[in-house]
Amino acid sequence: MAEKNYYTIDPGGKLRCMKCGVKLEKGKAKFLYLDNGFPVELPVCPVCGFVYVPEELALGKVASVERALEDK
């Protein structure tokens, strides 16, 4: 069965981890909030594991899910 991801962002080789000197790749990550978890695919550094949350995602989808969970 295909694994469910709530959101996917492919960095497409445009982002670079300055610590490790490598490009960020589409990788598995999860958001956690108030006892809830959401699997997503975000730009991740394959070496150090830095997960990037772009501004649009933080202010858009993430913020609206936060609001919804806060009112549970």
């Binding site: 598995k28 990550a29 999860k30 958001f31 956690l32 949350v53 933080a58 806060e70 549970k72």
Partner: protein, 763 residues
């Protein structure tokens, strides 16, 4: 760094703060849903307000539809009704009440009737029979037909016309013709020319499920029958019948009888579940100040023409209590009267599983108490919202997000920025000046000037306490934190010798008044007592005085501020929203943190009163008005000849508090404060400053992120070559997009945050 624990499980149950009974009593205070007095007086419950509104708009079709709901034969009722509604019209108190009956007659005469007939309606299985003729049987026939029971009418008359003539002699020929057509179109079976005897009726009992009769027939044929007038029912005889005096009574009797028929047909007790019947008492409040024409449109013929009826209906002032909605931007925003909104907010606290959809409205109320003053019954929306917040906090269901920034700001005020020192040269002091956290954040120079003045002119020593009174956690419903704040301030005051607190802010004064044994005085009262300092000056232009919600119900404070303004040479303009009726600026109740839109509307509501500059005596009001680009001054700025200037952003507010504390420590107490100095230069683009203020991101948060980058080197470079780093601070992750400049300094371009944590996932 101060931190507040995010709530834990979402499924913790505890007791309510307001009982259901208390809530019901509270809701009952709101009379918005009470009927207007005309409708309340009508036993048939005509929605007179909507009827007259439709008539006034010339929409006779809609008006007639409303009227047909209560009267199967509208002209018979309209032309003969005794109209108890007219005497109850509120306009009677100041002039002539609306000629409701005459308008009804015009509407029924000129209005386009609904499509007559009902042959295509599904009929019920149970059947009914009516014996006799007259107004009551006529109305009852209409009501039973409406309920879709197959109905047979047995009468002595020879034809339908004679049947209708009985009791309707007051109809003119045109009206009679209209009603005749209406009756003819109804799906009723008539048996004419009957000789109505007791045997005749009893013989037909087996053929029908319910028998009804005119009162005359029942009295003649069943003299022993005892009618229950509320039910229009003779129980022993199993006969639906009863007396009716007059046309309206016949119509009302028919309504009650039809309900009895309905209950009997279903083999139910006719006494039960009847709902409220007949006229009711109403406590609706009506503002008569907007009433227009006070005399009736004269009637030149037998009745109103269409045009006359429209004009007369237009005199109706549509009695409706909206005093709070007119005054409060918060209630107006949600377009709900407080009775309804309170019920919804109360129910919101009761939800165990599922969404708390009313969290935002609950947290958007400014808790200012204006509604209690403007409501004729003193409805207290603030208490409802405040208790609901406490309830949500105590049951661990309150989200931290809407209030966290304000709560952290309070912890900052009573932590890093807190200062409590006796006047230099004194051990214990007679007074302590408590300017309030917003004063130090927005107008630090004014605080300094006021403190130095008080030290110079008051005997016995004046200590200084820079901190938060606890209003923030009180508003947030965090009673535990409120108690801790109270204890903390109590300990600090005790160290200073329990001096008399000179409050610089009416909200602090109100909050501190809950401390047992604390002596309190407003700086405004003290200044009037010792005289204003030299150098103060009022505004050259006339100004509007904005009363603080902290001073609501405190006439003495309101008067003292006016006196100070007068002594400074100010010309003040008062409006209908001055004094106790003053709206909140949008800061109160943490509305500005929970709902920016409502807070902005609250501010605009304050400012719409006048185009003049605003003088206030709460620093939060001063700040919010200035942020809306209005010339805005705090009374103490005028007293001390200072000008706090443009409103600071959220980081500057912290900086101002800290700087004031450190400067005073150095100057007055010769103490060298511990200051954190950055060993690098940090700059912001204007856009970064703007979005940080909007998103409640402090320079301290940005510094925390950059410190992390400098230590760990963890950051990424985006497609535009900008660097992006992040750090978790408390309950949020902060992201900063920046560049490292040639001189080694940092330039911040953007910043954002989220509360969720994000981690790499394996597998």
């Amino acid at each position: 760094m101060a931190q507040i624990q995010e709530r834990g499980s979402t499924h913790v149950y505890k007791v309510n703060k307001i009982s259901k009974e208390e809530m019901e009593q509270m809701v009952a205070r709101c009379v918005y849903e009470h009927p207007p007095f005309c409708s309340a007086a009508c036993p048939l419950k005509l929605d007179t307000r909507a009827f007259l509104e439709a008539a006034a708009a010339g929409n006779f079709k809609k008006a007639l539809q409303l009227y047909e709901k209560i009267a199967p034969f509208p002209l018979v009722l309209a032309m003969g009704c005794e109209a108890p509604c007219e005497g109850k019209c509120r306009l009677c108190e100041i002039g002539e009440g609306v000629a409701i009956r005459a308008v009804e007659e015009a509407v029924t005469r000129f209005g386009q009737a609904q499509k007559l007939g009902g042959v295509f309606r599904t009929k019920k299985k149970k059947t009914a029979a009516i014996f006799g003729s007259g107004l009551f049987p006529l109305f009852l026939a209409g009501e039973i037909e409406k309920k879709a029971y197959p109905l047979t009418v047995f009468c002595e008359e020879a034809d339908l016309e004679s049947f209708l003539r009985r009791g309707t002699g007051f109809l003119d020929e045109t009206a009679f013709e209209l009603e005749y057509r209406r009756l003819k179109a109804k799906d009723i079976r008539f048996v004419f020319g009957c000789t109505l005897t007791r045997d005749f009726m009893e013989e037909r009992r087996a053929s029908f499920d319910v028998l009804c009769a005119s009162h005359e027939l029942t009295s003649a044929l069943y003299p022993e029958a005892a009618c229950i007038p509320e039910l229009m029912y003779c129980e022993a005889e199993k006969l639906v019948s009863g007396p009716a005096a007059g046309i309206l009574d016949a119509a009302f009797g028919a309504k009650k009888a039809a309900l009895t028929v309905d209950r009997l047909a279903q083999n139910l007790d006719p006494r039960n579940t009847r709902g409220q019947e007949g006229p009711v008492e109403s406590q609706l409040y009506t503002d008569l100040s907007g009433a227009g024409a006070l005399t009736r449109v004269p009637m030149y013929g037998a009745g109103y023409t269409e045009e006359e009826a429209i004009r007369e209906a237009g005199r109706c002032i549509r009695c409706q209590c909206e005093e709070c909605l007119k005054s409060c931007a918060y209630l107006a925003h949600y377009k709900k009267h407080p009775g309804l909104l309170s019920k919804e907010i109360y129910n919101n606290t009761q939800i165990i599983m599922g969404d708390h959809q009313l969290n935002k409205p609950m947290n958007s109320c400014a808790l200012c108490g204006q509604c209690t003053v403007v409501c004729p019954n003193g409805f207290d929306m603030a208490r409802v919202c405040h208790e609901a917040r406490r309830n949500m906090v105590s049951t661990d269901k309150m989200p931290l997000a809407p209030h966290e920034f304000a709560l952290l700001d309070m912890l900052f005020s009573n932590g890093d920025a807190f200062l409590a020192r006796p006047q230099p040269g004194y051990g214990k002091c007679r007074y302590v000046f408590f300017p309030g956290c917003q004063a130090a954040a927005i107008a630090p120079e004014t605080v300094r000037a006021a403190y130095l003045d008080l030290c110079e002119r008051l005997p016995g020593g004046v200590a200084l306490m820079l901190g938060c009174c606890g209003a923030i956690c009180d508003w947030a419903g965090r009673t535990e934190l409120q108690e801790q704040t109270k204890e903390f301030l109590g300990r600090e005051l005790s160290k200073l010798g329990d001096p008399v607190v000179i409050a610089g802010c009416p909200m602090c004064k109100k909050e501190l008044a809950s401390h047992e044994g604390l002596q309190l005085v407003g700086i405004w009262d003290l200044l009037l007592e010792i005289g204003l300092p030299v150098g103060g000056r009022g505004l050259a232009r006339p100004a509007a005085l904005h009363d603080s919600c902290g001073a609501r119900g405190d006439e003495k404070t309101q008067a003292a501020i006016r006196e100070i303004a007068k002594r400074l040479g100010c010309t003040l303009t008062d409006t209908e929203f001055s004094g106790d009726r003053s709206p909140c600026c949008g800061y109160g109740g943490l509305a500005a943190y929970a709902n920016r839109e409502v807070a902005r509307e609250l501010t605009e509501k304050c400012l719409e009163r006048s185009d003049a500059p605003y003088i206030s005596y709460c620093m939060a009001c001063r700040d919010r008005f200035a942020r809306q680009s209005r010339e805005s001054r705090h009374i103490l700025e005028l007293v001390y000849g200072t000008d706090a200037g443009a409103p600071p952003d959220i980081s500057e507010k912290r900086f101002n508090r800290l700087t004031l504390k450190n400067e005073l420590l150095r100057e007055l107490w010769q103490e060298e404060p511990r200051e954190m100095n950055l060993d690098y230069t940090l700059n912001y683009t204007d856009e970064a400053r703007r979005i940080m203020d909007e998103r409640m991101i402090l320079t301290d948060d940005v510094i925390a992120v950059l410190d992390c980058v400098r230590k760990t080197g963890e950051c990424i470079q985006d497609e535009d070559g900008l660097l992006v780093a992040r750090r978790r601070v408390g309950n949020a992750t902060f992201w900063v997009k920046f560049t490292r400049e040639g001189d080694g300094s940092y330039l911040v371009h953007r910043a954002w945050s989220h509360r969720m944590t994000v981690v790499k996932r394996e597998g």
